[in-house]
């Protein structure tokens, strides 16, 4: 046994400090917000009493100052967002026009480098493959499953099985799947499920994660495995909210399940479908953990987020890392604009 509680003491102490800080900040904020108005209320009361006693004209009721409350309610959030997100994002944009040590301006060099370097172009292409395949596959599987288990027996259990990977970290998922892809020489017994299947079908075992471009597809499988549950839950809720009379009317008209799916289900859940595809696309663009844990970006599997980490935090190339981050942001923007437009259209129609 090598678990010393004494080693843990400073950390638990720190946790305690964190919790105390939380209590003080939040409690303090609420206390101030409570105490200040009641102080003014009491003073006013005293004024009123004094005024009525002396027969002087009553002081006017002061206007409720809403802005004061709003300021305190919003202060922590706005401050943290400025320090932690807004200012850094602006700085990153600036850094992307500077060199690796963030000393000299280099203009568009970092962006030129991004599209000129073969390795980085490969990274961009990989990201493109990810962001096309993952949303499609995950949404399709989630949708099929949601339709199939709808109103089936044990629906809740069936859904939990698919949904469970959502609770597993990307690192854990990567390890789970690396085990599926594990390789043993031809003369040995296989320990990875995939190679075992290949061998029992008469094939030769392969080092799945080494061969490009197949390895990227196998990593994509991991992401699909995680995201399909999300798609399934949202789409399943959308299917359940289709008005029963529409479904009933279609059934009385004698439509086949196939027609029902394409003519009733699909149009009704379109908004939810778009949300799912957009959400998964954005998550996929930022995928980092899976690639890092399985191949560390080697063998032509790297993606933007992984390369950004490598450039900025391993090679000390802040400029190039920042340029990649900005490019990631640029890729997200059109997706979000598309979604906002859709929502607007929906509201107009609704």
């Amino acid at each position: 046994m090598n678990f010393d509680f004494a080693d843990q003491a400073p950390k638990l102490m720190m946790l305690l400090w964190g919790l105390v800080a939380f209590a003080v900040v939040v409690g303090g904020l609420l206390f101030v917000l409570d105490a200040v108005p009641s102080f003014f209320a009491r003073r006013r009361e005293a004024q009123l009493v004094a005024a009525s006693a002396s027969g002087a004209p009553l002081p006017r009721r002061p206007k409720q100052r809403e802005g004061f409350f709003a300021l305190f309610f919003l202060m922590p959030t706005v401050l943290l967002l400025l320090i932690g997100l807004v200012v850094p994002a602006i700085r990153t944009t600036l850094l992307s026009f500077m060199d690796g040590s963030s000393q000299n301006w280099v203009g568009l060099d970092n962006y030129r480098w991004m599209f000129a370097e073969d390795a980085i172009v490969r990274v961009l292409l990989n990201t493109l493959v990810w962001v096309t395949l993952v949303p499609l596959a995950a949404t399709a599987i989630g949708l099929i499953y949601a339709v199939l288990v709808d109103k089936a027996r044990l629906e809740a259990v069936a859904k939990s099985l698919i949904f469970m990977p959502m609770a597993i970290s990307f690192v854990g998922a990567a390890i789970i799947w690396r085990f599926v892809y594990a390789y043993r020489g031809e003369d040995q017994e296989q320990i990875g499920l995939l190679n075992q299947i290949v061998v029992s079908l008469g094939g030769e075992p392969r080092q799945w994660l080494l061969d490009s471009p197949l390895n990227t597809l196998l990593l994509i499988v991991i992401m699909v495995w995680i995201q399909a549950g999300f798609a399934m839950v949202v789409l399943s809720a959308a299917i359940k909210s289709i008005p029963a009379d529409i479904v009933e009317a279609a059934r009385l008209d004698g439509v086949s399940p196939w027609q029902m799916f394409w003519q009733i289900t699909m149009p009704s859940i379109r908004p939810a479908l778009i949300v799912v595809v957009v959400t998964i696309s954005i998550a996929t663009l930022k995928v980092f953990d899976i690639v890092r844990t399985t191949t560390n970006g080697n063998y032509d599997t790297s993606v933007i987020a992984n390369e950004m980490y490598n450039q900025a935090f391993r090679y000390g190339q802040n400029g190039q890392g920042s340029a990649l981050a900005v490019f990631l942001f640029v890729l997200v923007v059109p997706i979000v604009i598309f979604q906002i437009r859709n929502l607007r259209q929906q509201r107009r129609e609704g």
Partner: protein, 321 residues
């Protein structure tokens, strides 16, 4: 897909209420295929996890030479993998118990801070009238799309070097040491969580009945009082939903921890340690299998026991838009 129904059968179906033999057969076959496809998907989705789970209880030599499916012919069971990976002596063994504590220390405040701050902000944005309210809400909402990659480099330098503008130190470096580094991680997680947290809670809080708020105001309740006594209890499910989200996100996060907690055994969480083990000892499956489950078990319990809230939050956060 199954049988082509002759047109006559379709006519017949309408006369006797859809119970002709052909249509019944077709229906049954359809539902059979449907069930089969559903079962195949369910199996493919569970088998990988199941295989890893079984493997984590197999003795090392067996685990490395035979597939986990042979366990059912030759069931040999051991807890040694877990013992090693949690409490092992050697530096290579994992020592995950230590990292487990780190994950816990990182996660708790990283959930509580954004939860409280976002609830306050969401209330103000929904129910306090002040100038520029809508603009502020749109700005916070829009921040959701900024990838956290955009903030990493400057935020790290903010912690380590402080803020200098034109040679003047506006904010000093944090100069944290050892366990104090947790504060950085809390700070980063809190900042990154706020846009989504505000958005999610605002969705719930803004939908509380207007009459209720007005009645409370007429009774002379101040905003803080309304917030504490009326709003918080009513949106407790939403708070739970966000708390679960954030818990899963922080516990499972690798990127933020890698950058702000570093790789040291004092602050690095389970995910960082596991990724490291997978990188340097990718074939030590007796450690990786057990280690993966040590990291999975807590979120899984939280998830399964609170799934209801999680799903509700998911739907509110994505569909209502």
């Amino acid at each position: 897909m199954t049988t082509t129904t002759p047109p006559a059968a379709v006519g017949a179906q309408q006369t006797d209420g859809g119970t002709t033999r052909a249509s019944r057969v077709r229906k049954r076959l359809n539902s059979r295929t449907a069930t089969l496809v559903a079962i195949v998907i369910a199996v493919v989705w569970t088998i990988p996890t199941f295989g890893l789970f079984v493997s984590s209880f197999r003795p090392e030599p067996l685990l490395k030479t035979t597939g986990w499916w042979t366990f059912f012919q030759d069931p040999q069971f051991t807890l040694k993998n877990y013992q090693d990976v949690l409490f092992g002596q050697s530096a290579s063994s994992g020592q995950l118990a230590n990292y487990f504590v780190n994950s816990l220390v990182i996660t708790l405040p990283s959930v509580l801070f954004p939860l409280a701050f976002a609830a306050l902000a969401a209330y103000a944005l929904a129910w306090i009238n002040f100038r520029g309210r809508d603009w502020l809400y749109i700005a916070i909402f829009a921040l959701q799309i900024v990838p956290l990659q955009m903030a990493l480099v400057p935020l790290l330098s903010f912690f380590s070097r402080g803020v200098n503008l034109g040679g003047v130190t506006l904010l000093p470096a944090w100069n944290l040491d050892g366990a104090q580094n947790f504060a950085q991680v809390w700070f980063a997680h809190t900042c990154f969580a706020l846009p989504f947290a505000v958005f999610l809670l605002h969705n719930f809080i803004s939908q509380l009945p207007k009459d209720l708020m007005e009645a409370a105001r007429v009774d002379g309740a101040t905003h803080p009082k309304i917030f504490r006594t009326i709003v918080l209890p009513l949106v407790a499910p939403a708070l739970a939903a966000f708390a679960i989200f954030q818990f899963l996100w922080v516990w499972n996060d690798l990127l933020v921890a890698l950058i702000f907690a570093g790789g040291s055994d004092v602050t690095a969480p389970l995910t960082v340690r596991l990724a490291e083990l997978a990188g340097t000892r990718g074939n030590e499956w007796q450690r990786l299998t057990a280690g993966a489950f040590v990291s999975i078990v807590v979120p899984l319990i939280v998830f399964l026991s609170l799934q209801r809230y999680f799903v509700r939050g998911l739907l509110a956060g994505s569909v209502k838009g």
